[in-house]
Symmetry: C2
Subunit: 361 residues, 2 copies
């Protein structure tokens, strides 16, 4: 047995499949010799793309899958019906342990449903969130959940915080990451019902570095490393982030093109500006991990090019080498043990109380 | 009785009180002769500021209020304890009908609690939201609720949509405003529990022009005129909007100052850029209305200067002249009548059914 990281890549998912996806896989094995790729998809099409490149043949294989799930299909229905789709075939390899990770630019919904139904959740994990890396003024933060679970319970958010913290520390490399919950004020009494219930649980959680509430205003300033919220709020944050940035930049561009004077000015500041804006380009950070599954599932943008696919494959190596899922399991084991101990204690306590009551009577 | 709009202005609220507040009031009466202002606050201090200016004396008066509520105080406690505060005294004038509107840069929480406890809600209104005008690429949109009610029921959101629509059409002047609900996708089956329950109610609501769901990404593009959501989501949107804009602009400024070349470029594009960025400055639109109260309560920024105070006072004139609250009441009356009719119909229906059943037996 070798120690290579085995990454299944969905060759049929996304707007640029299979061309850019296959190219990304080739780039990844050429860049790093600790990774092996299994491409799932329609064999003829994938092979035709592969033949364009030079790469170590023993590290890329094809697993034929005759069906393709589109983003228009209802996820649950598609996963149940299309057993021979690239997504189902790929996630089965996670379930059996033949692969460590699965990278796809396909339907987020299908990946999530497939994650739960095919790959399966780590025992004890209640919900699997998507964590998205978003750029900030000072670096990058993990927004978790960014859209998988629209209605959450407090215990879900606590697990998101724990898993996000492990990912941020060991995959992204932020020491002792600051974990915050999205709120509408920093005072402890603020928040909606969900936040108010979750806050004390996070405060008590000894496995994370909880720094309290974060107002949305502080997110782009880099106010936290792991930003915890339900999937509805997270998705609103993610999309507004993209939208506001895009609109502001297009308005600035427009104003630069409005006169000869401003056009000359624009030419002069272009190089400096380009560097700045690159920092705010989320795609350079690779895909979004779905946390808490058997193996890692990474969702890249639907419009992902070879570069993003390659980055996403390479991030799976760190995930495996750092034993992220073992760390999650260890944490859950500790939580379960703690709960059992508490239960035992309470039982003992009430037994004693009963005895005392009996004596009193 | 004259037809002037009477606006109470909280002379003690906000970072720049009483100086900028009083100046804003003076500017308003000098600009428009259909408005009268009652300044509430500590009389000596207010009078000292007033004496600096020239203005029609008969249109500004002072109503003494010996106490001041700060933003640090717990709203419910402060409103109940400080009966002689500028906020309570001001909102009482709404309750009695002595004034049409109340403008304050003070504590949002206290204004909201005061609104419900002192001024009182319009009969039939379940919750009073804050509507904030946010700049978009194509103009301005009303975000409602932007922070007053963190946990909402579907019926609350329907009223927010109706009141927001009336405000946008008759105060801001957008004909037949497009109303959308914030969601994480445009398909009808998307959303959290609240959105899924609210969607069909909005679809059925004949008094608004409902255009479906809006993803947060489309908000800055100007995808809707009235953007409906619960106060938690709305507050996250509002603050992220501010934060993302501020960070992007500061990063762009930084990059412009990074070399001699870029500095020269910056000088050349400055005039064009300034015009663009002014469009994205929310403060020019005046304060945020709290809808559904007896009279209008307008919350201006805590940092409001005379200009914003003046704009906020003047927007109250349109509110009164357009009879916004009468329009809201008429709408509610229609809703109540409709519900009664439906109830009667159902009662009749079941009576008939009972008879039929009896005949069958």
């Amino acid at each position: 047995m070798n120690n290579n990281t085995v990454v299944v890549v969905d060759a049929m998912g996304g707007d640029n499949a299979p061309g850019e996806i296959v190219k990304g896989a080739v780039d990844a094995v050429n860049k790093n010799d600790k990774v092996e790729v299994i491409l799932t998809g329609i064999e003829d099409q994938v092979r035709a793309e592969l033949e364009k490149y030079t790469y170590p043949k023993e590290r890329i294989s094809i697993k034929h899958a005759s069906e393709v799930i589109t983003t228009e299909e209802t996820p649950v229905f598609a996963i149940k019906k299309k057993k021979d789709s690239s997504i189902v075939v790929g996630q089965k390899l996670l379930k059996t342990g033949e692969a460590d990770a699965f990278v796809s630019a396909g339907s987020t919904g299908a990946l999530l449903v497939g994650g739960t139904l095919v790959a399966g959740r780590i025992r004890g994990i209640e919900r699997t969130p998507i964590g998205t890396l978003i750029p900030t003024k000072t670096g990058v933060a993990l927004l978790v959940d960014s859209g998988a679970n629209v209605d959450c319970r407090p215990s879900h958010l606590v697990q998101f915080a724990q898993m996000g913290s492990i990912y941020m520390e060991h995959v992204v490399g932020v020491k002792n990451p600051r974990v915050s919950i999205v709120n509408i004020g920093v005072e402890e009494e603020k928040g909606n019902a969900l936040v108010k219930e979750t806050f004390p649980l996070l405060k008590e959680c000894s496995s994370i570095h909880f720094t309290g509430s974060i107002e949305a205003r502080e997110i782009p300033h880099g106010g936290a490393d792991v930003i915890v919220c339900d999937g509805f709020t997270g998705n609103v944050i993610l999309k507004l982030y993209e939208g506001t940035g895009a609109v502001l930049l297009s308005m600035i561009k427009q104003s630069m093109m409005s006169s000869l004077r401003s056009k000359i000015g624009a030419l002069l500041i272009k190089p400096a500006l380009k560097g700045t804006l690159k920092k705010f380009d989320a795609s350079q950070y690779g895909g979004a991990p779905m946390l808490g599954l058997n193996g890692l599932v990474v969702k890249t943008h639907g419009s992902a090019t070879a570069k993003e696919v390659c980055t996403s494959i390479l991030q799976c190596i760190t995930f495996k080498e750092q034993g992220i899922n073992d760390k999650i399991k260890a944490l859950l084991g500790r939580d379960v043990a703690k709960k059992k101990a508490e239960k035992a204690e309470t039982a003992e306590g009430s037994a004693k109380e009963e005895k005392r009551e009996e004596a009193d009577n």
